[in-house]
């Protein structure tokens, strides 16, 4: 049982987007977190498909949160990036083998599947109870308000690493 690694990136990106009021390009987010820009783009696309962020194209384009951070739960982000299907998928092995249960008796999921579904529901409920705004508040509580303010300033500031060559590479980490 492993969760897609991109989930972590997506969650942190959402917290960062909380501070910004203008669209933030994917390349800028990748540089801030020092991760692969090409791969981060995939996660942001997933968020866009799920309707959590809006993509603005063009010269001053980027990504913006569609709703207030209080209305975006962690479950929304996890579901968007990692997929909606539950961790456990019942193969219905009770209907196989020499002592297979007749199909007419299988109106409800088997006890194993029911227990797994309950555990999955508990997991999702825990994630649904925490919003992106809660995460941002947690960052403030841990490192003080200066941390998010610094990020906000950095996002609006000039692109780092800009030497004589105006070209801005997207590759690498």
């Amino acid at each position: 049982m492993k969760l897609s690694g991109g989930v972590e990136w997506a969650l942190h990106c959402c917290v960062v987007l909380t501070t910004a009021t203008e669209p933030v390009p994917a390349a800028r987010l990748a540089e801030l977190h020092d991760v692969s820009g090409s791969y981060l783009a995939k996660q942001l696309q997933a968020l866009s498909r799920a309707g959590l962020v809006t993509s603005v194209q063009g010269k001053a384009g980027g990504y913006v949160l569609t709703r207030a951070p209080e209305l975006i739960t962690m479950l929304d982000v996890v579901t968007a990036v990692d997929g909606a299907q539950p961790a456990f998928v019942c193969t219905e092995i009770r209907q196989r083998g020499p002592l297979a249960t007749p199909q007419e008796a299988c109106t409800r999921p088997c006890p194993v599947a029911r227990a797994m579904a309950g555990a999955d529901a508990a997991w999702r409920a825990a994630l649904e109870a925490i919003s992106i705004a809660d995460l941002a508040r947690g960052v403030d509580d841990d490192y003080g308000p200066t941390a998010l303010a610094g990020i906000r300033a950095w996002l609006g500031g000039p692109a780092e690493g800009d030497t004589a060559s105006g070209g801005q590479q997207l590759n690498g980490r």
Copy 2:
């Protein structure tokens, strides 16, 4: 986020082992569930390593539960087969990039990791609350006591598919 498919097999095998009082070979369990015997052996080995079942070698060998079914939780089986590490692993991306948080300020996990750990704890708690005995009781409630009794009888009965050739193939499904 996907759970190893072998978890389902292992759980059902534990429920089946509840009915048996003598060692049950892996090949017999595979035939009962109509699954790959070679791969099921891997899952049972994991259960053996975790100390949930005891392996008896020799002619009348097989697997037996080490404790009473009430003392084996679903979490035990899931942990044994799928591994103990949590679904979410924090990469500590807060310590990377131009605005990296200094290492001295990272005494506790970041808010994202804390929330994920909490969700994982809820998931594990739900699985820990259900024992193998509870699953067996659920089977009785769904299909009546005849189901498990029939399995018990089949386990002690003769090997199916035994024609003139005494050889018993382990391969195939």
